[in-house]
Every structure is written in structure tokens, then in C-alpha cells.
Amino acid sequence: MNIRVKKLPVLLLVLPLSFLTACTTIGDDASGDAAVEDRTSGAGADGGQNGEGYEGQTGGYSESGMSGQSMSGDPLSDPNSPLSIRTIYFDYDSTMINSEGQSALNAHAEYLSLNPDKQIIIEGHTDERGTREYNLSLGERRGRAVADFLSASGVPGQQMEVRSYGEENPVALDHNESAWQLNRRVELLY
């Protein structure tokens, strides 16, 4: 934790704005974009309240976009934080969370434990293969697998809500394996 906090301000200075916005296009729900807006609106309600070790600061960046900007205090809005990973991908017909997903979820578990006022929606999705209603249940099973992981890492159940969209909300519309890989996912919505 301490290491990350020390590194952050340095990294932030060199991040162009375009990268910040590019990171957040996957969310398909307005609530998924809330963290983006926090960034430019300066110190949000959470600034400095989260025990994360740094104060919220008023944002501002130069017209050229070359120099860095400062962040609000919440690491949720930090694109370099593991918390910026909000999508966990799955193998076909599987609810196994791979090591990449696990390390992201460990960060979310820590954050949620330290911020008991934060809620997340855990949204399960599948690819288009198979029948829709079965996939709706499969999406929920994926969401539940993530919730179980977070729960085992100490996140109380009342901070989490599992929802499923099954195959109804794809992020990639092609009918091939590369699209299916992107669609088999769980999204974490703060």
C-alpha cells in the first residue's frame, strides 16, 4: 500500500489526459463512468477521507496536454492503480478467475474493506454462444464467483450486488473467438 501511494504522484505527472479517458471506455453503464468525472471535478466527496494517505487536490492541466495533472485523492480514479482494472475475463463456459483477475480483485477487496461506505455492482456477462436464458444464469454464476472471491478476501456481502446481463450486453459485436473473449467478463461498477 505504502509503495503504491509513494509512486502515484510521480506517475501521474507524466500521464497525458488522453490515456486517462481511453482507459474508461469499457463501462457500458453510466455509473461505470462516475470515476472519470471525479478526476476533473477536483476533490470529490471522497477526497482525503479514505485513509489512502494523500489529500485530494484540485485538478488542472495545461492546454497543450503535455504536462501532467493532479488527481483527486481516491485511487479509484487512478489509472495506474490495480483498481483501474474493472473487467475480469473468463474462459469459455468457465467461472474460474485467472491469476490476472485475482490480483485485480485482491486490490478491490482491500479497497472495499478499507472503504465500507463504497458499494459495487458485480455484473456478469457471457459470449453469445448457447441459449440466452441459460447464459443469463451463467453470467450470474460468473458474477457470484467474483463476489465469493471478494467475500473470501473480507468484503462484507452488503457492499456487493451481483447482477447478470448474460449475453445481452456484448462489448464486441463480431461473431468470432476474439469478440467472444472480450464478452466473457465480469464488470465491477462502483
Binding site: G130, T131, E133, Y134, L136, S137, E140, R144, Y165, H175
Partner: protein, 446 residues
Amino acid sequence: MQQSKLISRTSLFLSLIFYLLLPGQNTHAVLEVEIKGGFQSANPIAIVPFAWSQSGGAPEDIAAIVRADLARSGIFSPLGLNQLPARPKLGESVNFSRWKNTQAEQLVIGSIADVGQGRYEVKFKMFDIFSGQEILGYRYNVTHKNLRRAAHQISDKIYEKLTHTRGAFDTLIAYVVVNNNVDAKKRVYTLAVADSDGYDEQIILKSRKPIMSPAWSPNGKRLAYVSFEKDRSVVYVQELKSGKRKLLAQFKGINSAPRWSPDGQRLAMTLSKDGNSEIYVMYIASGVLQRITNHYSIDTEPAWAPDGRSLIFTSDRSGKPQIYQIPVNQQGRAGNPKRLTYEGNYNSRASFSPDGKFLVLITREQGKFRVANLELATRYLQVLTRSKLDESPSFAPNGKMVLYATELRGRGILEAIAVDGSNSPQRLRVLSGDVREPAWSPYRSQ
């Protein structure tokens, strides 16, 4: 005998005014089309464009609608316009020797006339070409709006006369259309109802969030469906005529897969309020809920047996999705589930044929998801399609065709196929956007 049967049926299910032409005409030389598994040749039939003698063009090409209906059934192959040796009119004598040179076994001649006050008279007669005898004749008096429906009723009359099975052309289909924008926020989902050939679309619901699983009430007057407009799946029941709807199930977790009981009083559905997907039955008037399954696996996609005494459902309790059957009664669960499918490692979303002898379902074959027909007595599973991503199969109310969604060149489309696999899939009218989740209505009664 034949005619009295026809008369009694007409009074049963038609709102339109029509009656037999030339009652008393006898019908001996009926050429029957046997509907059995494996028949190869469709019955050639000639349908002459319906005569229109008033100014302007005819308000509707009735013959074209009938031709398309009969061709879609797979049982008939209507002659093309250029194959017709003549265009006889009703009331004129027909030179049958000319028609004997065609492949056709029957000849249909009709007319349409504006009779004022916005109404039209549509008449037709069907002749057996071999004997030259008239074997069927009806007259309809309809508004402009009901001309297409009259055409579907003509198709039904012809179909029933020649196959001795009630036609299902004068029926409706419900489906969901989405303009599949990459940006989920720009997607628009439409729940719509159209004639069985995809025409005369009426919009039931438009939403920015997904809509799933439309299911017809047994009287055809209401639809149950799943909508995500509250950002999660909940079940609504909507009356088609008034548009009035009721939020029926919004429990914690999934609320999905509503299916009406044959008595119309209950909905089977999938709820995950108790932890994971289980089958429940809800009494619609009171909201009384009965839990039917209890297993840590996924149980979903319930469907009623036609006698209402059991439910089938998809469960992956064996590791992969398969179809199970469980007895139910008025009090809920009435026995233990029994597995019905063993062939292949993915069988899902089954529904019963109207006679209860078959299940149509989605099966996975070499990684492809296809429509298959399972004969319950023999457990013979016949794969009907050759496509890759089939979904949501449902029977026509006469049990002779299956309607399903599939994907063609990246687009969702609807197809229908004869349930005995005797013809190739028939594409329904291509509508804009991705079409999915079709459900075939019961017979229309009014």
C-alpha cells in the same frame, strides 16, 4: 361431412365475415398430402393472381401472400408466375387440359373487389386439376387493414383442405429487435409482434436496455417478457390490446424465462433469489410462489407439458446443460426430476410440441448450436438446421413448423423450418436490425 366440419370451425376462430361458396358441392377427388417424416417432394400448386377490375392497382397481392405462406410450410411448392399457362377468372370455365401440362395438382383462382365503405370482398376457389372439380371455396368481407389477414386465412383453408391439419398462417409471432450499436448506450431494443410471415409489425415496447424471452399467454392476449429497464432482469406481463402491464417478478437476483401454464393461471420462471437459478411457478393473480427445483447447479428455461402436469427445464447438474422433466401439480412440485437428453454435451431451451410427443431444443454439434427435434418415445434426436448460432426455437401451434433465431452474415434473423426436416430453412422477412427471441403465438381466436 367435410363441409359441415369446415363450417363449424369457421365459426370458432374467425372474426371476419365469410361463408362457403356453393354449399352442397361434393368433394371426392381430394389429393392428400401425407405429412410423414421423410417425404421429399412438395406438392406443386398453382395460385393465379387474384383478379382486380377496378381503377388503380389491387390494394394487396393476396395470391403472392398465399404463395409465400404455402412455400414457407415446406409442404407446397407454388408455381411461379411464369409457369402459369393462363390466368382464368372466377366464374369463367377453366380449360383444365392446359393445367394438366403443369406440375400443379391444384389450381386456386380468386378475386378482390372494393365494395365501398373501406371494405373489400375477397373470393377464391380451389380446383383439383386432375378431375376439374371445385374442392374449396370461400368469400371474405374485410377492411383494408385485414386484407393480409384474409390472405393468411385463405392459406390456412388450403393447407387444412390438403393436409387435414389445421393451418397456422393466421397467427402472430413476437420477437425482439436491436440496432446493435457497438456503443451499448446507443442500442435500442424493441419488442414487437407481427403476422407469422413477419409483416404488419406492431411495437409492444421500446427500451434502451435489453428485452428478452417474450412468451404468449395461452389465449394470445398477453405477453410475458423480461426487461432490463431497471438495470437488471425483471418479469413483466403486458396486455397486448391496452398496452397495460404489470411488474410480476423483481426479486433479488435473476428474474427470467417466464412461460405460461396451459391453463393461463401460472407462470413458470427462473429466479435466483435464494442463491442460484431455480425454477419457480407463480400464480399470476395472487403472486403465490412455488419453488420447483432445488439444486446448486443452474436450473432455467422452464417449459410446460401441454397437459400442464410437468415442466421441462435446462440444468447443468450433470456438468453440462441437459433437459430434465419434473412433475408439478396445483400445489407445486410433485416428484423428482428425470433427465430426458443424453445425446451430446449441450442440450438446452426445450419446448414441447402441441401433441406432447416431441421437444424442440438447441443442441451443440461440433461447436455449433443447432435446432433439433427430440422424439420422446424413441429418444431420437434429429438435428434440423446446419447453422452455427441458433437460438429460441418454438413450435407453430399446429406443431408442423419450428421458428427460431439464427445469425446470417453477422446479423440476427428469424427462420422457420418444417419439423420433420423435409425442407430447408425458410427465412422470414428481413427486418432492420438484429432480430432475436421469436415466439410463435397460439391460434388466434376472436
